[in-house]
Symmetry: C2
């Protein structure tokens, strides 16, 4: 999705692709195949670039450091990116900055978890600091037994000493676990911000992200009936996080909307993502500058574009794969049914539950837009047949 705005901006892209059939390789002429966890592969790729950036957070910090050491510009920097790669690092930093977060603790033993559970109550949320996404590496636990395997893995690493290797569990549990209190939230929100190396920054309107089974299925832009004062505070926090962490490019700040002790709307930061993010896909059609164009402008230190909305409302619906592998007939039907709907297919094989595309619809009637987006996604997934 970064390829389309690169055309107009005159930016030549090159993508380190995981395979010759990867989505990006289908649309970017220069798409060498390589392993993003290999220093050798990434360095060979990076040496041909003016700036290197990321479309996921899974490039290991030591690989990114090697690119930077080779004198190639990396945006965001490994120091900034670490806050999106390691949830424990993120919680420590945001707490130090006074940004509202759920109550949390660093857990390296059964005793740690037991103490935290006693303090905040069960169930609580346990996360592996690294490597999680879309619900993976996150678990709601009602007691110590639910966390037995993770705790054993963590205690084994601890027993091997501070310098111990990560062993069979990879890097995900080398620093223990992150425990967080369950948050009684009213809904989930997200703020998308972009910041350039020069320090220019811009936010898009706060959106509502609707989750189903831990996966975002719908984004409403802007978040309906959002308290303007809360929207303003959340936007300021996103800009402050971007500045304090030295973020460059696009960052999504995922929020829980809650109520404070007096019943007034409040928020807590859930996660950070430092890249164009699913919660910002609506901007492709709904904003003067899409998050993908803005990410390019930001990492190239070009002036940022306007984040004004093109319409009163834009609704984004994620298209999940169904049982039927061929989308063409459904897609054709939907195009005829809704000429104003914008389709974005990702060139991925259809697998049940996999995000394979999204649709955007913009207009003045939010209920109508939601119904149309919902219908299209259900129809493409095969949940409904007319």
């Amino acid at each position: 999705m970064t390829a389309p705005p690169a055309v107009g901006l005159g930016v030549t892209l090159s993508v380190l692709a995981e395979s010759e059939t990867a989505s990006a390789a289908q649309v970017v002429p220069s798409s060498p195949v390589g392993d993003h966890t290999s220093i050798e592969d990434v360095l060979a790729f990076a040496r041909r670039c003016d700036v290197v950036t990321f479309d996921h957070e899974h490039v290991p910090p030591e690989v990114i450091a090697a690119v930077q050491d080779a004198g190639v510009r990396v945006e965001p920097s490994p120091d900034a990116l670490l806050h999106a790669q390691d949830k424990l690092v993120m919680r420590r930093r945001l707490t130090a900055l006074g940004i509202p977060c759920p109550d949390w603790a660093h857990v390296t033993s059964r005793a740690d978890l037991e103490a935290f559970g006693r303090r905040v109550g069960w169930p609580l949320v346990l996360k592996t600091p690294r490597g999680g996404y879309d619900g993976k590496g996150v678990r709601v636990v009602t007691g110590l037994d639910d966390a037995r395997d993770w705790l054993e893995a963590v205690e084994a690493v601890e027993a091997a000493g501070a310098g111990g290797t990560d062993g069979e569990h990879g890097t995900t549990m080398a620093d223990g676990l992150l425990a967080e209190a369950m948050v009684g939230f009213t809904r989930e929100l997200a703020v998308l911000v972009a910041r350039s190396p020069s320090g220019q920054a811009a936010v898009w309107p706060v959106v509502e992200t609707v989750q189903t089974d831990g996966i975002c299925t719908e984004v409403l832009a802007p978040a309906p009936d959002l308290d303007p004062e809360l929207a303003s505070r959340a936007s300021e926090s996103a800009l402050r996080i971007a500045g304090e962490l030295g973020v460059t490019g696009v960052m999504a700040v995922e929020l829980f909307e809650t109520r404070d002790g007096d019943g007034r709307p409040a928020y807590l930061v859930n996660e950070l993502a430092m890249r164009p993010h699913n919660s910002g896909h609506w901007t492709i059609d709904g904003s003067v500058t899409s998050q993908f164009e803005q990410h390019l402008r930001a990492v190239l230190d070009l002036p940022l574009g306007s984040t004004r909305s093109r319409a009163r409302w834009t609704v984004m619906g994620n298209v999940l794969g169904g049982d039927y592998p061929e989308l063409y007939a459904t897609y054709r039907h939907l195009m005829a049914r809704d000429p104003a709907m914008k389709f974005h297919l990702y060139g991925k094989d259809v697998r049940p539950g996999r995000k394979i595309g999204h649709v955007d619809v913009s207009g003045d009637d939010l209920d109508d837009l939601r119904a149309r987006a919902r219908h299209a996604c259900d129809y493409l997934q095969g949940v409904i047949t007319e």
Copy 2:
């Protein structure tokens, strides 16, 4: 510019490129190099495609016929496309359909031109039926002397007999010349229409095209202060031409706005272009469905998208090359000056007067939009320096 919408639609493009550094080859992974006038090159290319279409009208009819004979779908068909390749064929057909055209004559001799000049008056417009674009192959002549070289070429072909070769003048004058009366127009307009093989068709709002030295420099969408009844008639004519000629894909109908005998607004058809056209570049940012997405939908016989405007006004400014080959500094300055401006660079080397990109700005204040687009184009061309 067709590459960006192909990404979202999941359409795999392949381009027969004139060179490895061609604009399209920079952004389309499959871009074999070949000569669009070579049957062999075009056939080898076409055999790998489901549908073949065009981004200019200079592929010779016999080459297109060969592709069709090989069983590959060609949209638009050679029969339809001929009306955009040969101005004489176009004039004959439109006149037969009762579509308003300037007074015209087929000229194959000095005597023909003299008679036409006597009838409609001098100066008049002389055109080579084939091969012209952007003012090339078009000449305003004040008398026979201004047309001496063209007339000699035409008479030489005539003297060689009906089966004579085209000789050194190529195909452009094999069928004589097209003479047209000078039209006293108030401004130039264009209607963009798309039609699919199934017969579905859609028009965008009628636009005003502002020409400077025979080259379009600015497009105002919609055409300001246009008589609604004229807009409706012009749109109907464009749809009728598309239907009668069996056009598939996007067609631009270029018009002169005139006054009829009673002083009421009227129009005459100037030219046809069967492809996404400069007069429709505003749709990339100003319309729910851009002409490039619509062209893909149409030639693939997918349902057409909405042609509704995203804003009250969109102004497109063509960026012409200036003396200074490097755009980066000016481009960067303009991005900072106007965060809502959309830049579209074509990846072409800068040469004085060459179209190397365009800008789009959308909003409610037409004068403001025109001033911003004008400033950006002048600044990029080096005509102004602040």
